[in-house]
């Protein structure tokens, strides 16, 4: 009896580990009303992904990125099968000096909320480097 309890406990623990945070689902679409982000712990940053293509494993995405410096266009891609997202932020001169790469997941505690976390690479005259960004959206539009 004691042995059976121990075996059941071990199986339960393994099940808990297997169903933990490492297995959150990636959404089919990242097109959303608003993504509220913080970049290098600064914000608010508003990311609006307006379109998502349908071609390839990682379809193109496009939208706008708004922070204290103004509005920039973004272009990149999102891979629904893995949750990988990456986009370039285009500045007012038509060039890009920041590349964002992260993961998108559906919160297990609230499936209507998506979370996006990752790193952005910044090319700058004073502060080159890799910095963190994170955020979420509140309401998800219907895919497409």
């Amino acid at each position: 009896m004691k042995k059976s309890i121990m075996l059941l406990s071990a199986a339960g623990l393994a099940g808990m580990l297997a169903s933990g945070s490492a297995f959150a689902q990636a959404p089919a679409s990242v097109v959303s009303a608003t993504w509220d982000l913080r970049a290098n712990n600064a914000g608010p940053v508003t990311l609006d992904i307006k379109s998502q293509g349908t071609v390839g494993n990682c379809p193109t995405i496009s939208g706008t990125f708004v922070d204290s410096a103004g509005t920039s266009d973004v272009v990149g891609f999102y891979c629904p099968s893995t949750g990988l997202i990456s986009f370039l932020r285009t500045n007012s001169k038509g060039s890009s000096s920041q590349a964002y790469t992260g993961q998108v997941i559906t919160l297990s505690t609230n499936p209507t909320v998506l979370e996006m976390d990752g790193t952005f690479l910044a090319v700058s005259s004073t502060a080159n480097g890799a910095y963190p960004f994170e955020g979420s959206n509140a309401v998800v539009k219907s895919p497409g």
């Binding site: 990149g76 986009f87 890009s96 080159n128």
Partner: protein, 147 residues
């Protein structure tokens, strides 16, 4: 027992020496004037770093990237303290690929034979957008890069 102890001690010393040798050197301090050649997603790619300077702890770099006979502008940064390299590859001032990788350490501060590898993002053309690997080998001088 004595032999076993000696064998274990020798093995431990060997592991220690091997570990030290692999990480004993520093990264190169300056990439200006260097050439790099290899492949990006299996296709030939050449990187020439022409300038390095400014930009903080990770210095700004500029140069060119050539693939398939087409030459693009390369701008980015290099972190001498960590070996991290980032390059935005642009046409007409608009990046379409971003390379992020690391340079190997080497006992000699000459760029001949250094490795630079990592991944790059492809941001246009929906059929191929995504991340891909790249791997380059350094030459001491741009002029020694073979096309």
């Amino acid at each position: 027992m004595f032999h076993l102890r000696n064998t274990l001690a020798a093995a431990s010393l060997l592991i220690s020496a091997t570990t030290s040798a692999a990480f004993a050197a520093n990264w190169p301090t300056n990439l200006a004037g260097s050439g790099w050649q290899g492949t990006a997603n299996g296709s030939a790619l050449t990187l020439e770093v022409k300038t390095q300077g400014g930009g903080g702890a990770c210095a700004s770099i500029t140069g060119t990237m050539t693939a398939g006979g087409a030459t693009s502008t390369a701008t980015g940064y290099y972190c001498p303290a960590t070996g991290a390299v980032v390059v935005f590859r642009s046409n007409n001032n608009q990046p379409f690929q971003v390379f992020s990788g690391s340079i190997s350490q080497s006992p000699a501060n000459a760029l001949e034979g250094y490795a630079l590898s990592g991944s790059f993002g492809q941001y246009y053309d929906g059929a191929i957008t995504g991340f891909y690997p790249f791997s380059l080998i350094g030459s001491a001088q741009i002029s020694s890069v073979r096309y």
